[in-house]
Symmetry: C2
Subunit: 422 residues, 2 copies
Amino acid sequence: MAKMNAFYAQSGGVTAVINASACGVIETARKHRDKIGKVYAGRNGIIGALTEDLIDTSKETARAIAALRHTPGGAFGSCRYKLKGLEENRAEYERLIEVFQAHKIGYFFYNGGGDSQDTAHKVSQLGEKLGYPITCIGIPKTVDNDLPFTDTCPGFGSVAKYVATSIREAAYDVASMAKTSTKVFVLEVMGRHAGWIAAATGLASEETGEAPHIILFPEIAFDEQAFLARVAQTVKKYDHCVIGVSEGVKNQAGQFLSETGTRDAFGHAQLGGVAPYIANLVKEKLGYKYHWAVADYLQRAARHIASRTDVEQAYALGKAAVELARKGENALMPIIVRKADKPYRWHIGSAPLAKVANVEKNMPRNYITRDGFHITAACRRYLSPLIAGEDYPPFKNGLPNYVRLKNVAVAKKLKTGFELKK
Amino acid sequence: MAKMNAFYAQSGGVTAVINASACGVIETARKHRDKIGKVYAGRNGIIGALTEDLIDTSKETARAIAALRHTPGGAFGSCRYKLKGLEENRAEYERLIEVFQAHKIGYFFYNGGGDSQDTAHKVSQLGEKLGYPITCIGIPKTVDNDLPFTDTCPGFGSVAKYVATSIREAAYDVASMAKTSTKVFVLEVMGRHAGWIAAATGLASEETGEAPHIILFPEIAFDEQAFLARVAQTVKKYDHCVIGVSEGVKNQAGQFLSETGTRDAFGHAQLGGVAPYIANLVKEKLGYKYHWAVADYLQRAARHIASRTDVEQAYALGKAAVELARKGENALMPIIVRKADKPYRWHIGSAPLAKVANVEKNMPRNYITRDGFHITAACRRYLSPLIAGEDYPPFKNGLPNYVRLKNVAVAKKLKTGFELKK
């Protein structure tokens, strides 16, 4: 077989370490020039493949590629665009083959969450179904930590470290102010469907009385009375109360709290604001002065406080993806296999994309205390190693010195364009 | 004169580095045992003095005191409690003297912002007006950066570094997502009256096109049309737009934007949410998908990303306060004097409390561009050195290892309590 080029794309919400995986892919491919030609990245993910908008990563210096390891966001652009099934939208797959053929692409690396692994799985079937042989490897990524098989998903450990660090720091602040001012602090974190990130705030509470005092999970229907009683009890005991709340917390009727409370000036429900909802509730019912924060993108972009473990795993998975492909493996996703909790030992394994696609890993109920307001020792044992170690980016002029690639376009070879479905 | 003890208290909103000043005070006092006895800290600021609730810092190990340098929040507790004038509330001053006499306190160090320097000034007059000699030194602190004379206020540089780092990181995220998802990101930062912190977000924009693309200052009345036009123009040019907004932005009528837009379920105006207001406005008028974050306490507590310059200055000012007191100086506040911008050179000077009290340093109009949406080169020249250098705290179990002092109470000597005014 002639030497084939590789296609790499980033998909879905980006993270502090998805570029570390890109770095692993590109650096490893560059070491295997015998088998792998150039690495073409999709500009804005799979859209780049469909529209023949490819980036030639061989135009980047080794130094620039190395800097990806410490740069947050998606260096080539990402997208939220899910391929339908082959039967539903055959045109997309035919177009992919057209582009792949034109650019001699024989390897497909897709870096993303559940939906992306599903796409990767579909692409892996192109050989069989449409007669275009392609080696297809998924690379896990998602701050939601909800992919199956792998011990954790790159991106999550760094968010976990960020939220635990941030809530601890804010707690030192609130505790200082409690005598005459703020008694309740609420930090809203991501996690629309699963409480992994909310759980991570709990890592900051290593000793009795340490914040967060209360965690609100999407897995536990919000019980206003029990919550308020817990807040009052905490303030009575410690003079302040720090709360980590998932954006996905729902009431007993299954509605997102963020959509039940606040309305804007036009009467529309306000999205993404469960922290102000909770804070206002506490003020209204208990009279405590509050502050609240919504970390939003800051948490998943915070490369400056990334977990070294997370960075290492993200890189290792990118590297492993190329090595699997080089060995001729297809339709796999490299995963993290945990060998031991403390000290944390892990190695790289793999799982078939067919089994990964569209399966969500939920947080076990036994990771949440029976009262629903905190994490258990089992949860702590699982989470703790994932935030271990620091991996500071270089700084320049007082700021993290992140790389911006040249992102030189590969000359188009096709005469035809492609219209994306809306 | 017999050897006298010192009183130290933290006042007002705490910061990532106020404890570095405390560290400077205590370590320096411990070196001058010939003149200064014990350092008693007020539990919860001046309230600790009024209620005779003193903390004996001599019970803390050298190691614990050294750890204050890397611990955010106020280690002894702070308060928002302003002493009235001597004529208005003579009882408070008489009580202070009573407590100071009982505990042989001859030095008074007050670490805070404008109000606190005013208090320090009033206390410095006790000798003359009530016949109790006390050496009184103010130590500057405020993330608002609004004290006069000093080049900057400890706490501000670290907030500045945090907001500039955070907005840069979020911008890398948004730029990746813009093709199919979020196009506009809004970060709300502190600064009710002055735009110093909002201005600091502008440091992230070192090259053309770099975020933030727009900054909204409290100094510039919000012009909705001009703002929306600028957002649209930015999205057209860069496919995304990142906005740093001060919590204190007002409309043309002088109302806080955060109070004009959103109302909660009970119809009350929502406080502290100018970011969602701006984001909703953009969505409503321009149709762009948005994300927003409110950093709140995270920004002023973020010791993990503190400015080394800020930490050094905070420590140096605490140290200088004790040295001034030891030399018998009274009614002064040590300040930072800038000698050069680049490289930044500074030394410690001092200003009379009488001139510091109740004077606010505003942001010069020439620090804001003529169109009102960004910072000028002059502003950048001023701000840039303040965020220089990193000073990471030690980490343990993946988290910053901050100290909690024992805070052993000094035995009370007075029979009488004191009722705080409401």
